[in-house]
């Protein structure tokens, strides 16, 4: 029972035209830490067809307080571990992994086929580079995060549209430099805001565009 397709035989209400559309779409996930490892799982569960994931790092013991990895994965590549975990959740998702350090030179090529890009880095410099690169050299929307450290203050984490192709999640001020700790709870809230914003763009904006293209034909 339920071999292969995870939803086979399950009266799954989401298996409708929305999931059919999502199954044809691709999302780029830049960084697989507290944000990326959670965003990848949410999007795989939602049935996004292809995830293009990139990270150069390995899982460390200190990551386990907030990132979606397991004790037996410490020391392994985050890309490999994410692929392994996603396969256990939804084997129908195609996952393309890049074990590289992203920079302004390789970002356009690696995420060329993504419909939306999720910025899931931890350092300010890397966040700045990918948002600037996507907005100046590419055409896709990007969902970025700034301000998720600490605990509590759940309702201060917001999703806002800064401009046409830039959506920003976070409280805009709680960095690890000022808040000391990162918690699975608050990082998780930001990650789910981010995944939810990606889904909203895919479903409300991009599928409408695809539909109108089809109508033109």
């Amino acid at each position: 029972m339920l071999e292969g397709a995870p939803f086979a035989g399950v009266p799954f209400r989401f298996m409708d035209s929305i999931s059919e559309k999502l199954s044809c779409m691709a999302v780029g996930i830049a960084g697989l830490g507290g944000l990326g490892s959670n965003v990848a799982i949410a999007l795989a569960r939602a049935g996004v067809g292809r995830l293009i994931i990139a990270d150069f790092d390995k899982v460390e013991q200190s990551n386990l307080n907030r990132q979606q990895y397991f004790t037996d994965q410490v020391g392994k590549s985050k890309v490999d571990c994410t692929i392994e975990n996603l396969r256990r959740i939804n084997p129908q998702v195609e996952v393309v992994g890049h074990r590289v350090k992203l920079d302004s030179g390789n970002i356009p090529e690696i995420f060329a086929e993504a419909d939306v890009i999720a910025e899931c880095f931890d350092t300010v410099g890397a966040k700045q580079i990918i948002v600037e690169t996507v907005l100046s050299k590419m055409t896709q929307p990007i969902v970025s995060v700034s301000g998720l450290a600490g605990y509590g203050k759940s309702n201060e984490i917001l999703t806002r549209r800064v401009s046409g192709r830039l959506v920003l999640v976070g409280d805009g001020r709680s960095g690890i430099d000022t808040c000391e700790i990162l918690t699975a709870a608050r990082v998780g809230i930001a990650a789910m805001h981010q995944a939810n914003a990606v889904l909203e763009i895919l479903i409300d904006e991009l599928t409408t565009k695809t539909q109108s293209k089809e109508e033109e034909i």
Partner: protein
């Protein structure tokens, strides 16, 4: 008096105190340019061009400032 709309909020500057460039504005605001993405009237301005991009009365500028953590 010159006005810039910064992150949706109108900010007035005396004629002689209007920041000449994006780099000047960030310096007045005390913000490190390495932490910022800037859009001027809806157009992305790359960080390398902050010092060369002049500001004019009535322009709309969005400054997205990043803090670490992820």
């Amino acid at each position: 008096m010159n006005v810039l709309r910064i992150n949706g909020k109108e900010t007035s500057f005396d004629e002689n105190k209007m920041p000449g460039t994006i780099a000047d504005l960030l310096s007045i605001l005390g913000v490190d340019s390495a932490t910022v993405v800037a859009e001027l009237d809806g157009r992305i301005i790359e960080r390398a061009n902050f010092a060369a991009t002049t500001l004019h009365d009535g322009q709309n500028i969005e400054l997205v400032r990043f803090v670490p953590g992820g």
